[in-house]
Amino acid sequence: MTLDGALIRKDFPIFERLIDGAPIVYLDSANTAQKPRQVIDAMSTFMETSYAPINRSAYRLAAEATDAFEGARRKIARFINAPSVDEIVFTKNATESLNVVAQSWGRANLRAGDIVVLTHMEHHANIVPWHMLVAERGIVLRWVPLTADGQLDLTDLTTLLDGAKVFSFTAMSNVLGTLTPVKLLCDAAHAAGALAVVDGCQYVPHNVTDVQSWGADFLAFSSHKLCGPSGIGVLWGRTELLDAMPPFLGGGNMIADVRLDGFTTAPLPAKFEAGTPPIIEAIGMGAAIDYLSCLGMANVRRHEMDIASYALRTLNERYGDDITIHGPTNIELRGATLSFAFRDIHPHDLSQVLDQRNVCVRAGHHCAKPLMRLLGVNATARASFYIYNDESDVDALADALAGASDIFGF
């Protein structure tokens, strides 16, 4: 099935809004995605008719709310093909998910000198938690380098992984759009005796995800990038690992018993869900997953490949040497997230000027400063496309770029 961006936009109320008399060209979905009416309504309806505490009360309203909440968990388990629904831990965002891995698994298992391997294209969320263990524990970080066209350079992977305890890597770069060979990387990690931690923040919203076929150990992702609400993320982990890890946050719901002199933990997933969970958000995330599943994730991927091809072709043909688009040129190896430099215009100025035509692109370091330094820039402009975009959005971007030259007088 071919997706029709214009038709999909009709499900997203924000595209009815006019700024300066024109609709919004939203090209910042790698940052956070817009919300379809189905998600907004699911959250509203839940608050209007079924809101109640989860898991702790005997009355029907609470049972109904619990069913809805746990139903969302089951949807998520299916969406990533988790072997067990109890392996789906709700967190507040992917950042917390990665911190749980680093702080809970890491503190229990990593000692001074232990090696953790990251890649040069990681988001700060998959760097800083490990830096914190460097400072606290004296673990050692190694970095997988990049090729000139922004892929992982795997030449020395075996050497890098030698003796490593963890290999934590993104399935798709939020800057370069690069898709990494996740299964191959998981296999390489395991061959070296290391855990494979996958940052799926940019991958899960855009592709069919199957943690079992990857053979991954942990997967982190956020709801807000897949058309769900903010305030909720997921950590998936294999049962044996989650079972053996110490809890991360202490409080209600994560305990079996609490006495004056200590506590025991609840079974999965409650053990990692201290306090009142993101109830309304889980309902919304479930609705987002229903929405995406209905489109079909294979179709979503194909749709984005089409847009990315068209964008690369259009921008390169129209601006030639005036534009530098980072990352792989082979569409099979990338998603529809394009970071670029345009003439000498600073990305911040570029974004501001594009905004005058309602073209929303992000300018900045994209929470990937080590990668920025590697690219030799402080910042890039980034246009990222999703289900509700189509070729007309690429054209709008290309047209708006022309306006930027005028102001800066080239």
Partner: protein, 156 residues
């Protein structure tokens, strides 16, 4: 909406008011403790097994009408039974509670059909609990504690 009659059947209230096999057993009987973390209920199951047969069972602790009556009926049902029959009964009971969890799927066909044949007797009265999902944990508390006690039996 299901009514309370589905839940509080007369036989359940009877077992609640007059629990059978209430008490403790001295070692070498095995002791296991179960919590319902949602409501704070705590139950202890004492299990005395010889030659693969449950010679005696006692239940202590406190809980609501559903958890205590379920424990009482369970104790009646398994006393004198072989461990194999007990296992079959546990499976049958959990199936009745709608607990089609992934583990249950892995039961082989033989075991499943054995489970289907096991007689629940009085325990059938607990069928109504399925309509009150929050109470399923109450009804199964004693059973999970029993399983734990069985897992702690010395190898035959």
């Amino acid at each position: 909406m299901p009514g309370l009659d589905d839940l509080y059947r007369e036989i359940i209230l009877d077992h609640y008011r007059t629990p059978r096999n209430r008490g403790e057993l001295p070692p070498p009987a095995v002791r296991a403790e179960g919590h319902n973390p949602l409501c704070g209920d705590e139950i202890q199951v004492y299990l005395d097994v010889a030659d693969g047969v449950v010679r005696d069972i006692k239940v202590a602790g406190s809980g609501c009408s559903i958890s205590l009556s379920s424990a009482s009926m369970m104790s009646q049902a398994i006393k004198g039974k072989s461990l194999d029959d007990v296992t079959a009964l546990v499976n049958r009971f959990k199936t009745m509670m709608g607990l089609g969890d992934p583990d249950a799927i892995s039961i082989d066909d033989d075991a499943a059909s054995t489970a289907a044949q096991v007689k629940l007797g009085d325990l059938e009265a607990l069928q109504g609990v399925v309509k009150f999902p929050v109470r399923i944990k109450c009804a199964t508390l004693a059973w999970n504690t029993l399983l734990q006690a069985m897992s702690e039996l010395p190898a035959a």
